[in-house]
């Protein structure tokens, strides 16, 4: 919660006014049955039309007030939750922009995308829901309980007995249902992956004539999903009938005990009628609380995933760079006894004791078998990763002493796995080069070999 406060702070007034306005709606809702009871007790029984008209007019006023409160509360809740999530999303995006390659490797691309899209939306939804419901559900429950107790404390005992039982039962249902829903979600994910694979691999499937095999596999998956969904939904469909049952039992008990009191003259008939309305209010606000709890457990997972991104430690910055203004001019590259590995807990070095100097005007070819570390080596030059031991100098200056921008602008490179953007990436000016390379990469994603192209030449990379 502390983590999110800085996103809430600029909109704090909205966050406060919204729920307060919602509270007016609650007050009205609790007052209405009471006023109705008064009409019966003092208007109808006393045969006073003026009283009825007065109270009726009051009821209309209350209803109008409720409408105002509801609309206003809804407006502030929407404004607060959207602004909050919008700022959060922008900050997340900023954070990801500052990630180093190692940070990026830490998260899967797909998962980063989900965190920025789905998870933020989840949080927005729960924020809005809590702003609308936060005070409403408990407020209605408390208000209704107060009214009910005021009307008839002995009847309120019935609610006191049934409500805890209901809470326990619903708690049990949700506790059983929740893991089942998680399992169901897993099956949905598995199904999605299956379809996705099937679509991308369509040529493989067709060329090996595996259509029937795939169908069988798919049917197994859908059957699995069907079973798991049924198991989860089976629990959930119990809640509404149980809820209704609880309300019915309470109503019956209230009418039975209350009726006896009415018969002996201890209770007014209007009070009994409004009491039954409060029963419904109390028990359904219980249900609302349960729904919020269920929702927020989903949002908790999202929140955790968002915090992971925000709290990810940047392992590569240029804050301590000694020569921030230095630019790469000549393009001399020196490796001094460089050791490197991707993960600190791996025993083996990916690169071990690399030591060479490449002078401007030279072409340095790096060859080696698949997985031998060629790409890793060149990725160290623009500081996409930091060396673990040793040192890399460009133009005689440690790469860690350049500002990242100046360094990377001085080292042009084409990655092995290229991707295309919707725009022309702009003319990429690339660094020191001797052999005139002037070609257009017709299909960038086909280009497999990394090339560190050096200054002096323009390469036009046009995504197709």
């Amino acid at each position: 919660m502390r983590f999110y406060f800085r996103y809430i702070k600029p909109y704090l007034p909205f966050f406060i006014i919204g729920p307060i306005l919602m509270l007016t709606e609650v007050v009205g809702e609790v007052l209405m049955p009471r006023l109705m009871a008064n009409i019966i007790n003092y208007g109808v029984t006393a045969e006073s039309t003026t009283y009825i008209l007065q109270t009726g007019g009051l009821m209309v006023l209350v209803a109008l007030m409720m409408m105002g409160g509801g609309v206003g509360g809804n407006y502030f809740a929407a404004k607060a939750s959207v602004s909050f999530s919008s700022d959060l999303r922008a900050d997340l995006y900023k954070k990801v922009q500052s990630f180093s390659f190692a940070n990026l490797d830490h998260f899967h691309t797909g998962s980063l995308v989900t965190r920025l899209t789905n998870d933020v939306t989840q949080l927005q939804n729960i924020t809005r829901m809590s702003l609308v419901m936060m005070l409403r559900a408990p407020g209605m429950m408390i208000g209704a309980i107060i009214m009910a107790t005021q009307i008839n404390a002995s009847l309120a005992v019935i609610i006191g007995v049934i409500a805890p039982i209901l809470i326990v039962i619903i708690g049990i249902i949700m506790k059983t249902a929740f893991p089942r829903f998680m399992l169901m979600q897993k099956k949905i994910d598995a199904l999605n992956t299956g379809i996705q694979e099937n679509l991308t691999n369509v040529r493989v499937i067709k060329s090996f004539v595996r259509e029937d095999f795939e169908e069988k596999r798919f049917c197994d998956k859908t059957e699995d999903l069907r079973e798991k969904s049924l198991q989860a939904l089976k629990m959930m469909v119990m809640t509404m009938p149980i809820m209704t049952l609880a309300m019915n039992i309470t109503t019956l008990a209230v009418v039975w005990f209350g009726g006896q009191q009415v018969l002996v003259g201890d209770m007014l008939i209007g009070d009994l009628i409004s009491f039954t309305t409060y029963v419904v209010q109390i028990l359904s606000s219980l249900m609302m609380v349960a729904m919020i709890v269920l929702q927020s457990s989903r949002a908790m997972a999202s929140s955790k995933r968002i915090k992971e991104v925000m709290n990810e430690k940047l392992d590569l910055t240029d804050e301590n760079a000694a020569q921030k203004d230095k630019k790469v001019v000549e393009g001399k590259v020196e490796f001094h006894h460089v050791n490197f590995r991707y993960y600190k807990d791996h025993a083996e070095w990916v690169l071990e004791d690399i030591d060479f100097t490449a002078y401007p005007g030279e072409i340095l070819g790096i060859i080696g078998s698949t997985g031998s570390g060629k790409s890793t080596l060149v990725q160290l030059i623009p500081r996409l990763y930091d060396v673990d031991e040793g040192q890399i100098l460009v133009d005689g200056v440690d790469v860690r002493d350049y500002s990242l921008e100046n360094l990377r602008q001085g080292v042009g490179m084409v990655l092995q796995k290229t991707c295309c953007f919707l725009v022309r990436l702009r003319k990429i000016s690339v660094g020191a080069m001797r052999k005139p390379v002037k070609k257009r990469f017709g299909r960038p994603h086909r280009l497999r070999r990394p090339m560190i192209l050096c200054p002096g030449l323009q390469t036009d990379m046009r995504p197709n």
Binding site: E25, M36, I40, T55, G56, M59, A63, G70, N74, A77, S81, S83, S86, Y93, V96, T109, G110, L116, T117, Q122, N125, R128, G194, I195, Q196, E197, N198, N201, K206, S207, F208, V209, D212, E214, F218, C219, L233, K234, V237, M240, N248, L252, V255, W256, G259, L263, I269, T276, I367, T370, G371, P382, L384, R408, L415, F421, L422, V423, L425, G442
Partner: protein, 618 residues
């Protein structure tokens, strides 16, 4: 450097997928329910009929479920009506016994209602989940029979959305909407009848409010729909932008593009925020406005009803029950209007699903299509012409003859038509002119699946399935034993790296083999083809990411394999094709040179230029 908001919106709207969670929170009636699927159905009747056909096997379940709805809705109405005599009895000082009796009736009615409502829900989730499974299976089955052209012209995202969003929308309709529509209508009619039977004048007051409620509700709904659509579009753009830029984040970094990205994202994000506030506000408006309008109705009915009690002798029990009914009167109306939206968007989804099911499948084999006991693999192409688009010819006048045991290579620049030849051979696309003969018979005389099962392919784009390494190789021949698989892996030099994986052959491959290098994925693809016993082998850039030393090993390992097969090799790297029996140099869809490596070098033509570095393949 950064682009304008309009430009960004236009570009990224179509790209972004709006996630399921994207719809407004409990967006209330109208607005929120319009999920990304949305759209208006065109052939409503046809879609309904086809959906009914899916329900057919479960018609008894559905029938019982509907009866249950009748019982539970009736019980709710009757239960609250029972309060009338009870209250009147209490007013008239009736005895305890009759109170107990009335409560007993009420309890019985309530109990029946609860049981019926539970039974109905259990039945319906069973029916809807089963129907969903059947629709998914049918859709999938259909996809397996669609021609490759369909996949090449439709994006995966689009097809995924059929499976997820559209089928889900249908599921939601089956689960809730239909039942709620039914129970809402019954409640509405039942309430109306009961109200009229109690007091006609009071009923009229309630009914007077209905058009007003409907009008206000409609206004809000149309507004909120409009803003909701704008929000979804903006959300789509944000998601699309995130997806693209994060996927290419490493490129962004290498080119120091972060600031521009941040700026552009900021623009989109701000646009989303403005639209979202409106959409969320209007989406949430329905609840408080309509809810409180019925509170007003309630107040007015209470007022007039009370006066009627005093002046006309309306009974107190009837009065209190009536007031409750009138308060709840707008609920079924709301519910129905809400469900109508869901149902429409589900029907639109169903229509899209059925449209895929109605796509033209791969043409059926002729009844007398060939299936020969043993295919040797002689391939002959005679004056073949082909273009993906009939007006643009990709291949022109291709003729060649490949005998079993021969290795035929294609070289040429990107787009010369090398891969297209393999597409024709495996009948992914049909030729327009000329003929292809396999073992002397026309390719199109064979059964399609027969011919495909006799061609093993290693494709340009390496794709793997979720599963173990072993399973991925076995995909080439399902009855291959573990020993055969290891043997095949050894022959293509894949064994070496496989055993070094964390679980060897049992290592799980996930996410298309993200945990393997490009070269390793290619090796697995080759192993998959090697395990197959197909007499025709097609290697399309199969070793492009493998280093030349390993490539040599693979070649040696596969020599034995190729001795009895016809092999087609497509390669960029000329060293790969050196020892081919014949090398075809393709340019703009025409074979411009053919011969062995030595012959082509002697010709001093295009191949010679390429080989000696005077020209380059781009």
């Amino acid at each position: 450097m950064a682009r304008s908001t309009e430009e960004l919106l236009k570009k990224y709207q179509s790209l972004g997928k709006v996630p399921q969670g994207g719809r407004g929170p409990g967006g209330g009636p109208g607005g929120g329910k319009n999920r990304g699927a949305g759209g208006k159905p065109k052939d409503t009747q046809g879609s309904i009929l086809r959906l009914l056909r899916y329900l057919n096997p479960y018609k008894f379940h559905v029938l019982i479920a509907f009866i249950c709805v009748l019982i539970s809705t009736g019980a709710t109405l009757a239960g609250s009506y029972m309060l009338r005599p009870i209250i009147n009895g209490l007013v008239d000082n009736a005895d305890l016994w009759s109170l107990a009796l009335s409560l007993g009736y009420m309890a019985a009615i309530y109990l029946a209602g609860v049981i019926a409502s539970y039974a109905q829900q259990r039945l319906m989730i069973w029916v809807s989940q089963s129907v969903l499974k059947n629709i998914r299976d049918d859709l999938f089955r259909k996809l397996q029979n669609l021609p490759v052209r369909y996949y090449d012209t439709h994006s995966n995202g689009e097809l995924m959305s059929r499976f997820m969003n559209d089928v889900d929308a249908i599921g939601e309709m089956m689960n809730n909407s239909v039942i709620q529509l039914f129970s809402g209508s019954i409640t509405l009619i039942g309430t109306l009848i009961l109200m009229m039977s109690m007091n006609l004048w009071l009923t009229l007051i309630t009914i007077v409010f209905v058009p007003l409620v409907a009008r206000v509700g409609g206004l809000i709904a149309s507004r909120s729909r409009r803003f909701y659509r704008a929000q979804q579009a903006a959300l789509g753009a944000v998601n699309g932008y995130v997806e693209e830029s994060i996927t290419g984040q490493k490129v962004v970094k290498v080119f120091c593009h972060e600031d521009v990205c941040e700026e552009e994202f900021g623009l989109l994000n701000k646009d989303l925020r403005d639209k979202q506030i409106k959409a969320q506000f209007f989406g949430g408006l329905m609840g408080p406005v309509l809810g409180n309008m019925s509170q007003i109705t309630y107040a007015i009915t209470a007022c007039i009803g009370g006066i009627l009690c005093v002046t006309q002798g309306f009974d107190v029990g009837g009065f209190s029950v009536f007031v409750n009914y009138s308060r709840q009167f707008s609920r079924p109306i709301n519910e129905i209007s809400m469900q109508v939206n869901t149902i429409f968007s589900a029907l639109a989804g169903a229509e899209r699903v059925f449209a895929v099911m109605d796509e033209e499948p791969e043409a059926a084999d002729a009844p007398d299509a060939l299936e020969v006991p043993e295919l040797k693999g002689h391939v002959q192409m005679q004056h073949v012409y082909f273009g993906y688009d009939p007006d643009v010819q990709i291949l022109k006048d291709i003729s060649l003859y490949a005998k079993s045991g021969q290795k035929i290579a294609f070289v040429g620049s990107t787009g010369a038509g090398k891969t297209t030849i393999t597409n024709l051979l495996s009948r992914f696309y049909d030729i327009q002119e000329g003929s292809i003969l396999v073992d002397g018979h026309d390719l199109y005389d064979y059964k399609r699946k027969f011919i495909r099962s006799h061609i093993a392919m290693v494709l340009q784009d390496t794709h793997l399935f979720t599963g173990t390494v072993m399973e991925n190789i076995r995909y080439g021949r399902l009855d291959a034993t573990d020993e055969e698989i290891i043997e095949a892996a050894k022959s293509v030099s894949a064994h070496h790296f496989i055993v070094r994986l964390s679980d060897g052959y049992q290592t799980m491959i996930e996410g298309d083999g993200a945990n393997l290098s490009q070269g390793q994925r290619q090796l697995l693809n080759i192993a998959r083809a090697a395990i197959s016993k197909a007499p025709i082998l097609v290697l399309d850039e199969a070793t492009s990411s493998v280093d030349t030393r390993t490539e040599k090993q693979i070649e040696r390992g596969m020599d034995a394999l190729m001795a009895t097969r016809t092999t087609f090799v497509i390669a960029h790297r000329l060293s790969t094709v050196r020892n081919a029996n014949a090398i075809m140099v393709l340019e703009h869809g025409v074979i411009i040179e053919r011969g062995t490596h030595e012959e082509l070098l002697a010709q001093k033509g295009r191949y010679y230029e390429l080989y000696t570095g005077k020209a380059e393949l781009d």
